[in-house]
């Protein structure tokens, strides 16, 4: 690539684009898992995870690292896309279909057990409040700190800590009683 004198803004923008590209490999998976926890369909979670990076590219000119790293900013975008998706989904009747891919005969039993466990955990998660699911999604699957999760959900770290404790306690109770 040829060198460009370019003004400061263009160079900053290019740096941010490079940073965003470098986050893709690791954070696509994390974001897909976070979205999956929130919306419950794997294929749609994969599609939305891709949308997050495209949206981030469009919004890069408004990104400034004010105490929130780019990784956390990606989850804010994911959160907003999920909210949007859930709002649209509630207006139409859909039946999510996730195909189970069997890679080899040897994995069939393990896969079946995994699916049963996933259904169990899913049932428990469904009984949490929307906010509790958001907090656990960001903390468990996004790997964000309480402070970063708080900045996305507009809550203090203290509020996040309290919510996560209550959410995990409820989740634990549900998992124990659903055996």
């Amino acid at each position: 690539m040829g060198a460009e004198a370019g003004n400061g803004k263009t160079e900053t923008r290019r740096c941010n684009e490079a940073r965003l590209a470098s986050l893709y490999e690791e954070y696509y998976d994390k974001i897909a898992r976070y979205v999956y926890v929130r919306i419950g369909t794997k294929t749609e979670a994969e599609d939305l995870a891709g949308e997050v990076f495209l949206k981030a590219l469009e919004s890069l000119k408004s990104y400034k690292e004010r105490g929130i790293p780019m990784q956390a900013w990606l989850f804010r975008i994911a959160h907003n896309l999920v909210v949007d998706h859930l709002r649209k989904a509630s207006k139409r009747k859909t039946v999510p279909i996730d195909t189970v891919q069997i890679e080899s005969d040897a994995n069939v039993v393990t896969l079946a057990e995994k699916n049963i466990e996933l259904e169990r955990v899913n049932r428990a998660m469904e009984q949490l409040t929307r906010e509790q699911k958001e907090v656990l999604g960001l903390r468990f699957f996004g790997g964000l700190t309480s402070k970063e999760a708080g900045s996305i959900l507009n809550k203090s770290d203290g509020a996040i800590r309290e919510m996560q404790r209550a959410a995990i306690a409820k989740l634990r109770k549900l998992l124990v009683t659903d055996y």
Binding site: G2, A3, E4, A5, T10, E17, A21, Y24, Y28, D29, A32, R33, Y36, V37, K42, T43, E44, A45, E46, D47, A49, G50, F53, L54, L57, Q101, K114, E117, L118, R120, V121, N122, M125, L136, R139, F140, F141, G143, T145, S146, G158, I160, R161, E162, Q164, R165, I168, A169, L171, R172, L175
Partner: protein, 278 residues
């Protein structure tokens, strides 16, 4: 008190997210073991249950869309700059342009046997071979998938915006016949030696028949461009494989044709050798 416990739980969640074990967290807070352990077990159980790996093809398609969007941004940025700024604000460009002009002039006056008034022409003894291949994704959904290619373009390195363009000799390829390592040669001839950075094919039409033997499918046509540096050198034949793939677009039932940068690229054989498969 509750506040202290919340902070401890919070810290343990951070530590487990960073890869530490449950046991190491509990060992640091013996006074809270009874309360901490069941909650952290629930956390691990939940993470384990949701530990699905997104499909490789979905990730690849998303990455390709992202790369394409990045390339478009860069292209638009370059187009926006006025010619004055582009030329006069970059002294290095002047030097590079002068060197390139000198080389081109030397080539024009004596070192090239042919001129290319309308672009490179086919030649069985040429130094460059262009091949098409198909990276297997959704191709097994098809009985046949005919891609019509009307133009090929190569962008020389440096600051040149002047593409080397030519028409393929073989204008249509059935992608079901070139899966994986299989290739189809669609042009052979001479192109100027040197470094190239980008390659495009212009797809004028895509028509397929699904494996049910009945359903006709039409895909969007257009320019498929990749950033893939390679070199055409003297005394060798450069074989460039341009890999495309067809993927299903979510649950819409539609298909998309995509270039595959990772699977595309050039290799070299001594002159007068046959083109080899990828």
């Amino acid at each position: 008190m509750a506040n202290n416990f919340d902070k401890t739980l919070d810290e343990c969640i951070d530590r487990i997210n960073r890869g530490e074990s449950l046991e190491s967290c509990l060992a640091d807070y013996p006074e809270y073991v009874g309360q901490l352990e069941p909650l952290l077990q629930a956390m691990l159980q939940t993470k384990e249950a949701y530990s699905f790996a997104p499909s490789a093809s979905a990730k690849r398609v998303a990455r390709q869309r992202f790369s394409t969007a990045l390339e478009r941004l860069e292209q638009r940025r370059r187009e926006k700059q006025p010619l004055f700024t582009r030329v006069f604000a970059r002294p290095l460009v002047w030097t590079t342009a002068a060197v390139v002009l000198l080389i081109l002039a030397a080539g024009f006056f004596g070192m090239r046997p042919m001129l290319y008034p309308t672009g490179p022409v086919p030649n069985p003894e040429g130094n460059f071979v262009f091949l098409i291949s198909d990276d297997v994704n959704a191709i097994s959904d098809f009985e046949s998938l005919n891609v019509s290619i009307s133009k090929i373009g190569l962008l020389p390195g440096g600051d040149s915006e002047r593409w080397v363009e030519f028409e393929p000799e073989v204008k249509q390829v059935d992608l079901t016949l070139v899966p994986g390592d299989e290739t189809q040669e669609i042009w052979r001839g001479n192109v100027p030696e040197g470094q190239y950075t980008k390659v495009f094919i212009y797809v004028s039409d895509v028509e397929g028949i699904l494996a049910d033997g009945e359903t006709n499918v039409k895909l969007p046509s257009g320019k498929l461009q990749i950033y893939k540096p390679f070199e055409v050198t003297g005394g060798e034949v450069t074989n460039f494989v341009y890999d495309v793939t067809v993927v299903k677009a979510g649950e819409s039932g539609k298909y998309i044709l995509k270039p595959q940068v990772d699977q595309s690229g050039a290799d070299h054989k001594p002159s007068k050798g046959k083109a080899k498969d990828k």
